[in-house]
Symmetry: C2
Subunit: 564 residues, 2 copies
């Protein structure tokens, strides 16, 4: 269509090198320009970028001897270690595909994902040997295991054939040269459980990984918290499990920026506190990210007060779940700052972060905090809309609900071997997140529910998250899940499944909770018809592997409770 004026025409002759956006360029740059900057794993490993590159080359060379070639799927089960960082680069840069194995899925789902990805090599931390041994009989494509252990020792196992990671590296030379790859080569696969059915494998190319890195780095440097990261002075401490959504892309941006990186292994709030104490020098800042529950475990750790002086200067991004305002305040009281970020496995994951715009700097502290715990403002290059069921933009009034749909240079193109689900995800040319949110005039989102969790009552949406938030603050309530029940008249109506605090097991009533809810109708936080139709008192609420309420299990249990 460009005809005479296309690149490569007589008018615009093309002689230039066709530069590809591949992860190899990021790895090589760090090794060449900042070889001395540190990569630390607990007190067990102190390396740097020169060593990272050397170990990656050995690893790739060794993987070739194990038959790993272009597009070979390599599944990894590992905690947050320098070894996983090596695998984050060594596997994709050699043209193979890194499948991030999620050990928190049910064993059958784990086996499903490995078979579905047709992984040939499985590299696992020693801690996961029992898990993998239990399903190894079901694995149809794996033909080689590699075990990683901090002390280099492989315990007795029936996984066959099996190699040891450090031994493998030791057996190879570091003269491996990474191949030139097309930027649209698939680099990684992350399986996500979604709300129903088998896990789905979102895949990502080198180009997507690089563009997520560049843009997210811009945000980390310029917009995050009081002061963005200074890649020459500050460092990252990696808390998001590296088997979840590329650890939110932070291992890649840390390497791109050549900052010091600290890996804490399996999450343990005490280890985090100790690492902040031992690694952070005066005036330096540390940057971390995780779901709210991890920050909660840090902030309420019994010994946290001993670490106050070190926590000053820690910036913490909370995502995956909402950032409760109480938690953000607690973090601030400890000298940290917490901001919200958001995304999902299908979006690499990060697409937005909450940050203050210049005209907000003079706002009262309380108002600033209210803005910072919102879901967030999109990154540059992210096109974000909130649409009604007809695909029309909802007003930016902070009130009207709609689904968030997205475009960005790093969103998955679809799911492995699932053309129909891929099309469903991308209907109308926009990635449908399934997140229900309001949007305000600042383009700041507030996610109020997951699509599958929201209740459609009389044609209007009711947010279960808001109802749960209010009920969880009642003095007799320990835990509460709000779900939909069938209603002849309204389609759906909300009901509340409540675990009372121990001491109130026999002293709590539906009436008092309804009265309590009415107070919140008066303050305007909810509407009268949002009050749950029924309150059920139970001993326990079933949960998913990631600690969220398992509404898939709850819903059918109580679907007919209003109409029978």
């Amino acid at each position: 269509m460009d005809g005479r004026f296309a690149v490569g025409s007589d008018f615009f002759p093309k002689a230039g090198y066709d530069y590809q956006l591949v992860l190899t360029r990021i790895l090589e740059y760090a090794a060449r320009i900042r070889p001395r900057d540190e990569i630390v794993y607990r007190n067990l490993y102190r390396g740097n970028y020169a060593r990272l590159y050397e170990r990656c080359r050995r690893l790739s060379k060794a993987l070739v001897t194990l038959g790993v070639g272009r597009h070979t799927r390599v599944t990894v089960f590992e905690w947050n270690t320098h070894r996983f960082l090596e695998l984050y680069f060594a596997v994709p840069c050699m043209g193979a595909i890194l499948h991030l194995g999620n050990p928190l899925l049910a064993p059958d789902q784990i086996a499903y994902a490995i078979n579905h990805a047709e992984a040939e090599v499985l590299i696992l931390n020693r801690d996961f040997i029992p898990l993998i041994q239990a399903i190894s009989g079901k694995l149809q494509t794996v033909r080689q295991y590699v075990v990683m252990a901090d002390d280099g020792r492989v315990p007795e196992t029936n996984l066959r054939p099996v190699a040891e990671y450090e031994e493998l590296l030791g057996s190879a030379t570091a003269d491996y040269d990474y191949p030139e790859l097309d930027e649209n080569t698939v680099a990684t696969i992350c399986y996500t459980t979604g709300t129903t059915g088998d896990p789905k494998g979102a895949y990502f190319t080198h180009r997507q990984a690089v563009l997520h890195t560049l843009t997210w780095a811009n945000f980390f440097q310029g917009f995050l918290g009081e002061r963005g990261i200074d890649p020459r002075r500050d460092f990252f401490i990696h808390l998001v499990p590296m088997f979840h959504a590329h650890s939110w892309g932070i291992p890649y941006i840390a390497t791109y920026l050549c900052t010091k990186q600290v890996y804490p292994g399996r999450f343990d709030p005490k280890v985090f506190l100790e690492l902040v104490k031992t690694e952070k020098r005066p005036g330096q800042r540390a940057y971390a990210a995780s779901v709210a529950t991890m920050l909660n475990a840090i902030c309420y750790h019994p010994e946290v007060d001993h670490y106050r002086e070190y926590l000053k200067g820690v910036t913490y991004v909370v995502g995956g779940t909402a950032l409760p305002k109480g938690l953000a305040s607690k973090a601030r009281e400890l000298g940290m700052e917490a901001v919200a970020g958001w995304g999902m496995t299908e979006t690499f994951p990060v697409v937005g972060v909450s940050f203050l715009k210049p005209h907000m700097f003079d706002w009262p502290e309380e108002k600033k905090l209210d803005f910072l715990v919102r879901t967030g403002v999109p990154f540059p290059l992210v096109e974000q809309r909130v649409v009604d069921s007809g695909g029309r933009d909802v007003p930016k009034d902070g009130k009207t609900y709609g689904e968030i749909v997205l475009r960005a240079p790093w969103l998955t193109g679809g799911y492995v071997k699932e053309p129909e689900k891929s099309k469903e995800l991308w209907r109308g040319g926009w990635l449908h997140t399934g997140d229900i949110a309001t949007i305000d005039e600042e383009d700041s989102l507030l996610i109020v529910d997951r699509d599958k969790d929201v209740i459609k009552s009389g044609g209007e949406w009711i947010s279960t998250l808001i109802l749960e938030d209010i009920l969880s603050m009642h003095s007799k309530v320990q835990e509460v899940a709000v779900i939909a029940a069938r209603s002849e008249r309204w389609g759906e109506r909300p009901i509340a499944v409540v675990v009372p605090k121990k001491e109130f097991r026999d002293g709590i009533s539906e009436d008092e909770l309804k009265e309590y809810m009415k107070e919140h109708v008066e303050t305007g936080r909810i509407l009268k018809w949002w009050i749950p139709e029924k309150f059920l008192f139970v001993d326990e609420i079933p949960k998913t592997s990631t600690g969220k309420f398992n509404k898939k299990v709850l819903r059918p249990l109580y679907w007919d409770v209003l109409e029978k």
Copy 2:
């Protein structure tokens, strides 16, 4: 080749939106997310990103009525104003091509470039009317002129047909929707004079513009000077002429980061000082860039002492020419910090900046400064080599000379309608910069000469820049150019063309300069055989439009001076 595992295969079905890296996304993001942040032109215009977007849409709509469509070349001659920023976006985002007209070229070269680009519309500041009128008879493709004037008045002119810029904007509505473009659509053309022959038009695509922006922004935020730019608080003040190499890409990164932008119009050191005074609030930092001569004009401005309190917190990137250490010290004494950056028209332009790596923070101040005035360290994604004439890497010893060759995602693919010169630029798959440099173990470059200026004597290279640097420090020398003269025995030998200071016109001799040079042989800065064979004393040295010595004119004049 990817077969079963290509994106779009059964294994990796593709349903995702094919996101293109185009400048439109940058413009729209700033308008949507940071509409209030300011864009200022002297004391003549105070707008913001919302207004930028609105004016761009009006402009594009008006350009459509003038017949501008896909790929139409639009030439612009303008100072650094908000209007030029509008044209930086409005023209490429509508799918047309922005030709940055350089008013400092010779009139015949200007006419050549416009004709060669086959520009159809010429948009010019009123100040350039005499220049363009003088060549308008030679312009073969221009069919429409648009005049820009601060007061909106077009003087009497024989340019026909002619429109006025603000009137044009006023006549159009802002409901123009930018088209979806392929990222490989050509966005801009910059003609460069090089060392010989007609100007050559380096062209750049949207993808290249976006990738230069993202990476350069990472550097500006994270690595530059004492503290990188905080896009929420700090601002850019644009000094590099916008008709030179995209003003080093800074208008694009400023918009991408949504920072406040200050445009000073035509360069005037007093205007710069006044704008820093009126626009910079306490605690805020300002970032500027230019060639050394402009920083020189600022630092030695007679009134500079009155502005000391405002200059504190100004970070200044010097490129295009070397950053003299004396000038960097002077800037520092005034409270500013100056660092070196480098690139060339063909490289968009920026590919490297000098910055301190973490292990250098404890170096003595003098040693730090020595490092910061070096040419620079490459950006992420830039592959940089220094090679000998056989294409082999020279050792990283800081001594051995070689040519800098590059790969990066934003280097020009070639020259407009010049397939042979394009291939020559990119021989062997690397962009040949023509810059002769040494490289040290930190991957830091020091450019010692242009390829065409370096002297090849007995098979060895002699740096004219170093010889000129030393001679210019002699107490009787005002200006000196060193060039090659033909030598039967050595091929070439250096000779020095010297303008003595007025008071020494009759009191300077070749012998004393040779004696003086010998002192520098003793300190090891130069080798004995580098001492110029002959010293010629003249009243004036011819210069190019950009103020550099015109060695193209000098060389033939003295080529035979040693052998006749």
